[in-house]
């Protein structure tokens, strides 16, 4: 049975990789199996984890779970055309609660913390910073300032303001370049993982 599973996994892996050549029947089959099985898997997981695990078995005295279940029931009202509009209520709740929750979270982490960490003595406390640290401090300060200017939408990017915004976009692009290289390396590990499966688990060429 284990060998059969490895052969099926290898067949499907090769099918997905065959997309690199062009769209073909093998890829279509693998894609349909992948999409269908994963959709079914997630349905079962969400049902057993949430409806059964959290609500049916583990609800206890937690009234919040009843509120969640009630909102979930309202969502099902979509199935009844006459009262389908009720399903907008839980959606409004989710969108509103998300916006409110993240307003405070993001304001704390993306605004306050960022500003706190950017405002620092550029030359070090008591002017004790090394040249390396000074350059680092100045890069952080200039990068944050000019980046923020780039994302200022109420003024045309012209003159000194435009120049500063251009510096900001340079900083962003340099950051993206570094991030690109770093992420490509991590994607290589995914490829290596699949090749390791094909040549190791399946073909047995890697011991």
């Amino acid at each position: 049975m284990e060998h059969f599973a490895i052969w099926v996994a290898a067949f499907l892996t090769m099918g997905i990789i065959s997309f690199l050549y062009k769209d073909n029947a093998w890829y279509k089959l693998s894609e349909a199996i992948f999409v269908g099985i994963s959709a079914g898997y997630w349905f079962v997981t969400l049902f057993w984890d949430n409806i059964y695990g959290k609500f049916w078995v583990g609800r206890g005295d937690d009234a919040m779970l009843y509120i969640g279940a009630f909102l979930g029931l309202l969502m099902l009202m979509r199935l009844v055309p006459k009262v389908g509009w009720i399903s907008r209520w839980p959606l409004a709740f989710i969108v509103g609660a998300t916006a409110g929750f993240y307003l405070i979270n993001y304001f704390s982490s993306n605004v306050m913390r960022q500003v706190e960490d950017t405002i620092m003595p550029l030359l070090g406390t008591d002017y004790s910073a090394t040249t390396y640290d000074m350059i680092g401090n100045i890069v952080i300060a200039v990068g944050t300032f000019s980046g923020l200017v780039y994302f200022f939408f109420s003024k045309e990017h012209k003159g000194v303001f435009g120049g500063t915004a251009k510096v900001g976009i340079f900083f962003l692009m340099i950051t993206f370049g570094a991030s690109f290289g770093y992420t490509v390396m991590s994607r290589m590990s995914l490829l290596i993982g699949r090749l390791d499966f094909l040549f190791g688990d399946w073909l047995g060429m890697i011991k």
């Binding site: 992948f34 959709a39 306050m112 500003v115 109420s154």
Partner: protein
């Protein structure tokens, strides 16, 4: 030369000597071990006889700015609590005090020697507790302090340490409300050009001219992600344009809640454009919750149906390049927008236009030009202006050592 008995039995003689030597060595080692054990016991006995002065001044207080359930305990260390001294730890004892009657003391925790604080995070709000602290000696003997005054924990409505966050949010909210009122009063609010958003019209127009579909991918995250909310909001505007141009818009989604929301948005957009009849339920459809399953499904649709235009607006992870590269390979015009810093480089590389972070959130206001959204965007800009000024002032003050300005922005969790 050698004695006669050695000459007769040399091997026996050597082995005998060796055995005698080993026996002697073992006996002396055993004696030495025993003497060490004896010494240790002697030391322990000595320690047990020492009377340790117990910790004193046990002070208790409710932990402030919290949701209740916690009491802080502080005490003065025992004078014998010194490096190498007899005290090895402190035990914290607690008793409930109901109507002035004190219950039994039970140990709720311990800290090593040298520590003079303990946080009791397991209290019932409103119930009074009395604490005492006991110093434990190496011998196991325990020396207890006097009782603390009764104390109870309570929850606070506001965490006053985070007042700066409150003021900041209030300031930005004030700007937003002010500019929304201005916009509603008819004041023209200027928003600079955003290239990626100007291209939306062009992209929809191109699909119309080519008689091909528009694909809209609202990311792979659920509705509890603000980027998905932004993506779905922009979908409304794109759907309105698609309805006006009578171009087929297809929206594959990976989350059930996004499916429902996107359907509502598209349906409403078609009604708004005066074309409710052109809306089809299967325009917005579900594929799978699985990240790479979704990517495989969208890729398949892209290569088979060859849409003229593809939008990627929302939160993306590793699937970003897989999707954008496939779209690029069929020559579609692609406009992406995300706030995920790690995925932006891939969109920048593989798409024609990319909305970077904040631009994604500004997109809806930019495209719709609705007073409420424009006022909101303008208000946020004023918040950014305040931050820019704070950066300049703070950097100058801190660099010249005048004032530690950054503490104003310090956030305590």
């Amino acid at each position: 030369m050698y004695p006669i008995w050695f000459q007769k039995r040399p091997l026996f003689t050597v082995l005998s000597a060796l055995t005698i030597f080993l026996l002697f060595f073992s006996v002396s080692a055993f004696a030495q071990d025993n003497s060490q054990i004896d010494t240790t016991i002697a030391v322990d006995t000595t320690l047990a006889e020492i009377r340790i002065v117990p910790p004193s001044s046990v002070e208790v207080s409710d932990v402030g700015n919290d949701a209740g359930g916690s009491i802080d305990i502080h005490w003065q260390l025992s004078p014998e609590d010194q490096n190498g001294g007899p005290v090895i730890s402190y035990s914290v004892l607690r008793a409930e005090s109901v109507d002035g009657t004190l219950g039994d003391f039970t140990e709720i925790g311990s800290v090593p020697a040298g520590a003079s604080t303990y946080a009791d995070g397991n209290t019932v709000d409103g119930l009074k507790y009395v604490y005492k602290v006991a110093a434990t000696a190496a011998s196991g003997a325990v020396f207890e302090s006097g009782d603390s005054i009764p104390v109870s924990s309570s929850a606070q409505w506001f965490d006053m340490r985070r007042i700066n966050v409150f003021v900041g949010v209030l300031l930005v909210a004030g700007f937003i409300v002010y500019y929304i009122r201005q916009a509603k009063a008819g004041k023209e609010l200027f928003i600079r050009k955003i290239a990626g958003l100007d291209a939306v019209d062009e992209a929809v127009g191109r699909a119309t001219e080519m008689g091909k579909k528009i694909f809209y991918v609202p990311g792979t995250q659920d509705m509890d992600n603000v980027q998905t909310i932004a993506g779905v909001t922009i979908l409304g505007r794109v759907a309105e344009m698609a309805a006006q141009y009578e171009t087929w818009l297809e929206v594959p989604v990976s989350r059930s809640l996004v499916l429902v929301t996107a359907k509502e948005m598209v349906k409403e957009a078609y009604s708004k454009a005066g074309r409710p009849d052109a809306y089809h339920e299967d325009q917005v459809h579900y594929l799978t919750d699985d990240q790479f399953g979704y990517a495989a499904g969208v890729d398949g649709m892209v290569v088979r149906e060859k849409p003229a235009t593809i939008f990627y607006m929302g939160a993306f992870y590793a699937e970003s390049l897989i999707l954008a590269e496939t779209g690029n390979s069929i020559g579609a015009i692609q406009i992406a927008g995300t706030g995920m810093p790690s995925q932006l480089p891939f969109f920048v590389a593989a798409c024609d236009y990319t909305l970077i972070g904040e631009e994604l959130f500004a997109a809806s206001a930019y495209l719709s030009r609705e007073p409420k959204q424009l006022g909101s965007l303008k208000g946020q800009d004023m918040g950014k202006a305040v931050i820019l000024i704070a950066l300049i002032v703070g950097l100058l003050l801190e660099t010249f050592g005048i004032w530690n300005f950054s503490t104003l922005f310090s956030v305590i969790e």
